[in-house]
């Protein structure tokens, strides 16, 4: 036939755009009854979806009425705003309580990601601190959206100005429990098995923007986990709480964060991003075995 299209490509293109078909694709459809049939079905599908869409109530009136009734006004912008890469966070990571427990190393790829910190302009501490500190999340992650909560295996690697965490979830991409890593049964429809992310030291009220998603993260001084939760709930998105023990009193500059007794709580508030990386079961088992040794 001499056309550029085979049926597989034709179907891909038909389903990605039912309206603007190329001349080559139209030629293929003329010669291929099966693809033509699929094209008709694709059009029918789009029409059905459109027709089945639920009606939309009058939200404008109710929103404007509420604004007027409760005298709501736009809040003023925070005084400090910084832009820096934060890295990808898993959708499952809604609440984490992290506790620094032991010294340790930093993963090679995380070292690379720690570059350009000063250039990015985020807060640094002048006090003497270990180059890296391996930490452990001892509380569980409470998922949001698809899937439930559960205990995950997470390690936190802290440098002077940045903390990087790596979490291995105790469920596999297909939603079944990963026996090598977890004891709690899980259900999860998303492909979320592992995440790594970075945490930057932010002063109270300072904002940072993730270069990937443009989401804004706000640093906040809080004195307890409850207060951190309240602070986060007043905003939207994931809440990431870090509890630092007095074992590393110089981890964060006193000028930047309040210290309360033995612990410092920091709340970061931002948005949940899509999780993109999938890891194989073999990789997870290998990871678990390696860490068990």
């Amino acid at each position: 036939m001499g056309h550029k299209y085979d049926c597989k490509k034709a179907l891909d293109d038909i389903f990605s755009d039912t309206e603007a078909l190329s001349d080559d694709l139209l030629c293929h459809l003329e010669d291929c009854p099966e693809c033509k049939k699929q094209y008709e079905k694709a059009k029918e599908l789009c029409s059905l979806v459109k027709k089945s869409a639920p009606d939309v109530p009058d939200i404008k009136s109710s929103v404007l009425a509420k604004i007027e009734k409760e005298n709501i006004t736009p809040e003023k912008a925070k005084p400090t705003r910084r832009r820096l890469p934060v890295g990808t966070l898993a959708a499952a990571a809604a609440v984490l309580v992290i506790y620094i427990s032991a010294n340790g190393g930093m993963l090679p790829d995380m070292i690379n990601r720690a570059s350009n910190e000063e250039e990015a302009g985020f807060v640094t501490s002048d006090c003497a601190v270990p180059e890296t500190v391996e930490c452990e999340i001892f509380d569980s992650t409470e998922s949001s959206g698809a899937g439930g909560g559960g205990s995950n295996s997470t390690k936190l690697y802290a440098s002077k100005t940045k903390t990087t965490a790596e979490t291995v979830f105790d469920y596999k991409a297909d939603g079944t429990q990963n026996a090598a890593l977890a004891e709690i049964p899980q259900t999860c429809t998303e492909a979320q098995t592992k995440e790594s992310f970075s945490i930057y030291s932010l002063a109270d009220g300072a904002e940072a923007e993730d270069s990937d998603s443009n989401r804004i993260i706000t640093g906040a001084n809080v004195e307890s986990e409850t207060e951190a939760a309240t602070e986060a709930d007043d905003n939207y998105g994931y809440q990431l709480f870090i509890k630092l023990s007095k074992r590393f009193p110089d981890r964060i500059s006193e000028e930047l964060y309040k210290k309360t007794g033995d612990e410092i709580f920091i709340s970061f508030v931002g948005e949940i991003s899509d999780f993109e990386t999938e890891y194989t079961e073999e990789a997870l088992i290998e990871y678990a075995e390696k860490n068990a040794k």
Binding site: I72, G145, G149, S211
Partner: protein, 205 residues
């Protein structure tokens, strides 16, 4: 670094219509915000509806999304699209809602009965004459189609809603979802293929 170059680009960009409305709102013109709500209420409501499977919750959460957006307008950065920003607020509000629902162990969002769909559809033919049998088939078909959309993964569901229901352009969808236009097309192709499979299994297609 790339993240700083956008800052420079921002200054050269002409403000979009949405950005103008945002500015007017911040300067005290609440009716300008009405324009934004009017423009995006359908997209916000339907996105939430397909996430939550409940009209009442979708209406409440939609209102919450716009109030949050209104309060936070000062933090809107003009170098991204308003729709992108709003979409993230929308999704995060839904996640928060689902998380709270999980915490309090209230009725599962997956247990919503058919009654939830009752007000979705009008049951009249083109002449405006009520036809019970036709109406039932139409309602049932729509319910099955919406159920199938809900069964899709979130990223497939979002792209179907934005393209096939809200009729956004590929470029707009790319902006809203913060992905490349090519990714929008390939994702849409997979989403539609998956939806077609589900509807074929239900003998609708």
């Amino acid at each position: 670094m790339a993240i700083f170059s956008r800052e420079k680009d921002k200054q050269a960009l002409k403000l979009s219509e949405d950005a103008e409305l945002v500015k007017k709102t911040i300067n005290g013109d609440a009716s300008a915000f009405g324009g934004l709500v009017e423009k995006y209420s359908s997209f916000v409501y339907r996105t939430i509806f397909f996430d939550l499977r409940c009209h009442e919750d979708a209406e409440d959460i939609s209102q919450e999304v716009f109030i949050k957006a209104y309060k936070s307008l000062a933090s809107f950065r003009y170098d991204s699209e308003f729709s992108t920003w709003l979409f993230r607020i929308c999704k995060n509000t839904v996640y928060d809602h689902l998380r709270k629902q999980t915490r309090t162990k209230t009725l599962s969002v997956y247990d919503m009965g058919d009654g939830e769909d009752d007000k979705e559809f009008e049951f009249a033919d083109t002449d405006g004459e009520y036809q019970p049998e036709k109406a039932y088939i139409s309602k049932e078909t729509s319910r099955l189609v919406n159920d199938a959309i809900r069964e899709l993964s979130e990223e497939h569901r979002d792209v179907i809603i934005l393209r096939d229901i809200e009729e956004k352009s590929y470029s707009e969808i790319a902006d809203i979802l913060s992905i490349e236009e090519g990714t929008v097309k390939s994702r849409l192709s997979r989403a539609r293929a998956s939806l077609k499979k589900k509807l074929s299994a239900k003998a609708i297609l």
